[in-house]
Symmetry: C3
């Protein structure tokens, strides 16, 4: 209990304007705001472990909008709103349709009369996902200010075309747990690298999220991918600036070996090249199935030239003391297990399997923490209230 009180006291000291804005991109938040979310997640997690109920709502809806298939994000979101006392309701718009204008404005209001949270995953269309979330946010602001909505639901970015803030923040929480503190990450090297996968069209949001966030805390971030597999240039530029400001560094190369060399942490993961994602978005909008098919063929053939981007024992030997922490957002393409040739060798993955599960386990708490910081200015007081009451989660 003292430990929980300690975390709450620390977060109360961190200034935050998160209650005034949706948390859509990590680089729009101050370092204090990011730390606050981490500490909130930590406090909620510790309370749950101590069998203290964290319900802050007696009723209310948490709406999920998934424009792509999802199991783990769906469960993380459902878990997060459930531990706060909200009930889940899914908005099923049909996956392939991009709604605009009046439809977005109207739907956003129609689902929100009793909603406290709206979680959105929209990562299919480059240039559209984050824009959609902001459009929904504007509609909610309008509805709230005009008296249509009795409350302004928090929007949670469950993955967009630009960032994947709940993933990256969960990853950061895991690194903090693994290495003991946020401060101990200073000076550590993390390799965010492309890796071969037999599928194509994986979003850019994970690598972008990682380089955009890990550069905030004085880490040495090394991004590596084959030529042509670029990320959104603006995000790379943001990462570079972040590194300078935080006293870390940012390297960008086309060599997996170089990135792995001496790394404390490695994050090998496949993604589609920026220009392929752009082309794909055009074709999806045009409903050009033949075009999509031929783009897929091309992209897969291109990928196949880079099967050597494979996280093997030999690669791991290059890392610090040959025992860097392996990370993945899951599911990984594991060679010989989930595919013939993939991102990671089965023995490497097996060694870190439980570590990746623990990495994932932070997501529900991060989402809950984001919601609490959006809904309550005085999160510390709210958490203290829960701690003092100490209602049991399980009788």
């Amino acid at each position: 209990m003292k430990e929980i009180q300690q975390v709450i006291s620390e977060l109360k000291a961190l200034p935050s304007k998160l209650h005034e804005k949706d948390f859509l991109l990590t680089w729009q938040q101050t370092p204090e705001e990011l730390r606050r979310v981490l500490k909130t997640a930590s406090a909620i997690r510790k309370m749950r472990a101590a069998n203290i109920a964290t319900n802050v709502f007696k009723n209310g809806l948490g709406v999920s909008v998934f424009r792509d298939n999802s199991t783990r994000t769906r469960f993380s979101f459902a878990s997060a709103i459930n531990m706060l006392g909200l009930a889940q309701q899914d908005l099923d718009e049909g996956k392939s349709q991009i709604a605009h204008g009046e439809t977005v404005r109207e739907t956003a209001n129609m689902i929100s009369f009793c909603a406290d949270v709206i979680g959105i995953r929209d990562d299919m269309y480059l240039g559209a996902g984050n824009a959609y979330m902001r459009e929904v946010g504007d509609a909610l602001d309008d509805g709230f200010s005009q008296g249509v909505l009795p409350q302004r639901p928090a929007i949670i970015n469950l993955q967009c075309d630009i960032d994947h803030p709940t993933q990256a923040m969960a990853d950061l929480a895991w690194l903090q747990e693994h290495f003991g503190s946020l401060e101990s990450l200073k000076g550590k090297k993390i390799a965010m690298t492309w890796a071969y996968s037999p599928s194509y069209g994986k979003p850019l949001s994970v690598p972008q999220a990682i380089i955009g966030l890990m550069t905030r805390f004085g880490m040495h971030v090394s991004l590596a991918h084959p030529e042509g597999y670029d990320l959104i240039p603006d995000v790379v530029e943001t990462a570079r600036k972040n590194a300078t400001l935080s006293g870390g560094s940012f390297q960008h190369s086309h060599s997996m070996e170089e990135a792995f060399k001496g790394a404390d942490i490695v994050y090998p993961k496949s993604w589609a090249p920026y220009h392929v994602m752009g082309k794909r978005t055009e074709l999806l909008r045009a409903n050009d199935h033949a075009g999509l098919k031929s783009l897929e063929q091309e992209a897969l053939a291109q990928n196949a030239k880079h099967k050597d981007w494979h996280c093997t024992d030999a690669m791991m030997k290059l890392t610090k003391n040959a025992e860097a922490l392996y990370m993945h957002c899951l599911p990984a393409d594991i060679t010989g297990v989930s595919c013939q040739e993939g991102e990671v060798a089965d023995n490497v993955f097996e060694k870190y399997r439980i570590a990746t599960y623990k990495e994932a386990s932070w997501k529900p708490y991060i989402i809950a923490a984001m919601i609490m910081n959006r809904k309550f200015q005085n999160v510390g007081d709210v958490l203290e209230g829960l701690l003092q009451k100490a209602n049991k989660r399980i009788v």
Copy 2:
């Protein structure tokens, strides 16, 4: 708080047998019962706005049965049961199938062991939707009296072939809010008119619900549609009788202009002609796809002759001081926005957009009020209990 207590005191004075019967058609309820539902909705809404939790169930299910696609009704129902403390569970029977007899009787019982509410939307088949709800109700009565069910779930009509009571009651609550009181509606003119839409087969239940309910409160109700676009004759007859009894009037014409002239409120909305809906029901039952296709063609061609049934500025100029309140159950077919030519001009809609959102915002509270009045004879006492406890909805 005093304001809420006032509303509760008023509703306690209104005699009601709503706890003994399902609220399936507004014209089967007394004026006092209708007022009681409105006041209950108002009290719940005010409590929520004052951050007072309205949970009256610690657990229990609210089952939804949607035999047609639905987003806003689904969310309204989910919101209503959530604010009362129930969890939503959807019964997915397959959309096209009409269940009968043993299946209905058995299923009604099987889903109700722990259900306190069943919300049903069944508006596809003329002559079948309301009948289905009554069949479910009979099965529940039987199950309850035989000791199969420990409680009799409330049935909520979320739209049938005859009436759409949650919509019309929400509309009435909005009119009450907009004009200040139910009494102030006396003598006001409301135009319920057909309007052109590029789709066909829209149910009759909204216009029928409006003329069936608004004639209860001394309003002058003017129904207008092109020749051949009749509603169910019995419902029109009911509206006529209602008007006489309430001291209002009921006019029926084939001129949108005549209906709009001097109107305080206009409700222009497309629907399919009665005989088309009858024919469509036959074809649906017979699974005659070719027949349905050709009926659609015919009906659309017929509709296209009436594109002048369009709610434009010029039409609005005919209304009282050129500023009647525009209403719609949403989504509207907005010319140049959601379709090329539709029910309403975009500038007219935009002027009243927020008003239509506020109109819609009443639905969750109306549904919750219907549930409470079905489950509790002493709704006033229950609401007073909530008010006195004043548990916070959000900590």
Copy 3:
């Protein structure tokens, strides 16, 4: 209240290790453990009837995994977790896919960070359903012991290829209610017989569950089916041993008449022969649609030779005083109602219709009782706590 206290006191006297193991097969539980589940179900049911809330969780998820269509099991599970305070979340894996190895291990953990219960129905594949549940259980044990999961979710077997423990236990609870006590079942004859149905491929789990459980309490269990319609031999052997141990008997014949003769209870129900289910599993795995189609033809033709396995008045006349209790897990194939020729004559079914509904009504309570016994060693104390607090379910 005294009656409830009495049941709780009785269950406290029954030794149980159910909190250490998942309840996957009834024959793996001791008689005391089975009685404990029955008494827990009875206590929960009585509390609900007395309007006492049975919420033991303030938050948490109950995950359902249905690998086959289901309405009543879905609602029973949803009801059970709801009455304990958990929220339902469905894992939709796609029906036809059999997940293995890494996928099962990973998914089991990913959905369980905040899950207290996982209910699984997997009855399509002979040799796979129960194995899958054990595989999930192993993954959960591992995740919990490694610190990935803060709690070990209970696995509830909602029907597998071998047993259907929630059905059989609900059936037993109903027999206990109907005949007054578990003790009064001693010496009663129950006929578990095959019956004709115009469909094929019905799982073996219900008849196996019945012979595996009812032989535990000194009943005379008579299994009858046409030649070739065998059940899994191991389960039949288990039933035979059970009967010996409990002081009852087990008969196995190919005559419906013989089984019905003098029976106190009859349970006529269709199932597919063991070897057909085995063949079907192979074909499903091989995705051999043509093979499946031809197997179905063969099996239906084979079934059609046994239309005389029909529960008619004449058959019922053979039973004890011509008034044995008819049981069915529902839905039954009722001749002239749900099919032309089926398992049971319509007048026989109608006579026992309400009885079968009451039989089904026990399932939510049995599931809730299984969950409680898995999650709490001291179920009696937990129930007493609820009884003493006596929070109202409905205000």
